[in-house]
Symmetry: C2
Subunit: 295 residues, 2 copies
């Protein structure tokens, strides 16, 4: 461990309101979603994934995307973003006044098909188009790559696929790429090697990591990625997330503990520890998934 | 992260039956304790802290120490040990046929006094005497140093105290020293620096780490200590532990997840993943503390 090489500060990308709440089977009232985002803003979160412009037929939980964005207090300097599945979603996000959108695709062909109902090639072309239109509108694109550290359907994944995908996304203009451990299959060695290898090949895009919960192992994974030179970490307040249909899918890495870990290490996040802890506790009150099984 | 320097295998020291169950406010039936130890044996745990020979007035939960040791199946090659507070405890442990005993003292004077009702100097003298008598009886002594990474009463602790204590314990004959993060106050930097510094100074004694739960951060701490060259890790099946009187005190690091983390990293433990998972689930059924609050 090369402590002297650790950064003085890292950036937390908060995904609770979107990735965290999206799988919730019970609709979370719009005003509660707005309150969650406002609390995250007040806690000092620099970047918040607020909602998703996916068709309500597919994700009814996010049917109030427009109302949520209209309802939140947008603090200058804080970046509010939304997941978009296609150009139609991008149009809605632009109309809502967002300056950043988020795309997603998998390293795994079968997961991509199951999750997005299209091939990886189709997803890549989609992200290219999204980047083109986003650029014309002054909107930045953040792109997730899912199942980088393993796929619940295909098992172990070749890191070369994640690398190739990242290079394509960078080429298309995504300014930031987030490597997703979609179902908590990473370990500290893969969480070190894969981000390091990809980071060394990227020339423009920033690289983030996105670990899901695995009984606490996600903190070891985040530490390993920090050691690999990563400085952008995704988390969800309260550890929100999971999947009602896939027993293996877990919540996201708990933002308030990630923040505390970095702070204990003397690495700043700009987030208020007490406020994010309160926000995490509030976030947990919105979830039914988290209460299905105590870990 | 120097992956090439990682060991091919590590040793897990299982503390569930003792450190894990000791704080339980409801008496766990003797046969359940025996079943827990037998399951741990069957899962392949190489070393198990079975019980404690503390006066039942202080720890009524461990009043059946003799019966538990008499009742368990002792598999050849597996080391079964008990915590002992003094020479009387050692005599009982020897009479019960144990080949290893465990002592404990704190780096913090006030925690030592509160926990053991004696000064650190008195504790050191006690461990010296225990080592002397144990040696005469062919019994090995493992010594915990508690509050190494912070004390719930005194706050931050000078690592020099832990080092001085470890050197004294080594001098007195303790063959292994375990650095305890008693209330989950470590972070990956202290979990790297302190064990590394102490390990470099010890000439005979082996060094272990003992992290308590802190919402998952304990796995980052164990990883950091692995990177510091530590190869002996304490854990409790099911994450048993905590303290009914101290809301800040958490359970122990969950053995089954620690085992899985190492296995995912290609580091062997000799423990069967599925059996230790089942044993962890069984252990949790014995606990009331774990169910008081979902994390």
């Amino acid at each position: 461990m090369d402590i002297d090489q650790f950064p003085k500060s890292v950036e937390i990308f908060e995904v609770g309101p979107r990735d965290g709440l999206q799988p919730e089977p019970v609709f979370v009232p719009t005003e509660k979603k707005i309150e969650l985002v406002d609390r995250l803003t007040d806690a000092g979160c620099p970047r918040i994934e607020v909602t998703s412009f996916v068709h309500p037929k597919w994700v009814p939980q996010m049917a109030d995307a427009k109302e949520v964005i209209a309802g939140i207090r947008q603090k200058p300097g804080v970046v509010y973003s939304a997941l978009i599945p296609n150009l139609r979603g991008l149009e809605l996000a632009i109309a809502a006044g967002l300056s950043e959108v988020v795309t997603i695709m998998s390293t795994s062909e079968s997961h991509n098909m199951k999750n997005l109902n299209m091939t990886r090639q189709q997803s890549l072309e989609q992200v290219r188009e999204i980047n083109r239109v986003a650029r014309e509108n002054g909107v930045r694109v953040r792109s997730y790559i899912a199942t980088v550290f393993g796929c619940p359907i295909e098992g172990a994944m070749d890191p070369q696929i994640a690398l190739d995908t990242a290079l394509r996304l960078e080429e298309y203009g995504s300014y930031e790429i987030s490597l997703g451990d979609t179902t908590g299959m990473a370990n500290p060695i893969s969480a070190y090697r894969i981000p390091k290898m990809i980071r060394e090949k990227l020339t423009k895009a920033r690289l983030a990591v996105h670990y899901h919960k695995y009984h606490g192992m996600e903190f070891a994974n985040n530490l390993a990625s920090l050691e690999a030179g990563i400085t952008i970490f995704d988390g969800a307040a309260g550890g929100l997330g999971g999947c009602p249909y896939a027993p293996g899918a877990k919540g996201n890495c708990q933002t308030e503990i990630l923040v505390e870990m970095f702070h204990r290490m003397g690495i700043q996040t700009g987030i208020d520890e007490e406020k994010i802890r309160e926000t995490g506790a509030f976030a947990q009150t919105l979830s039914t998934l988290l209460h299905q099984k105590c870990q």
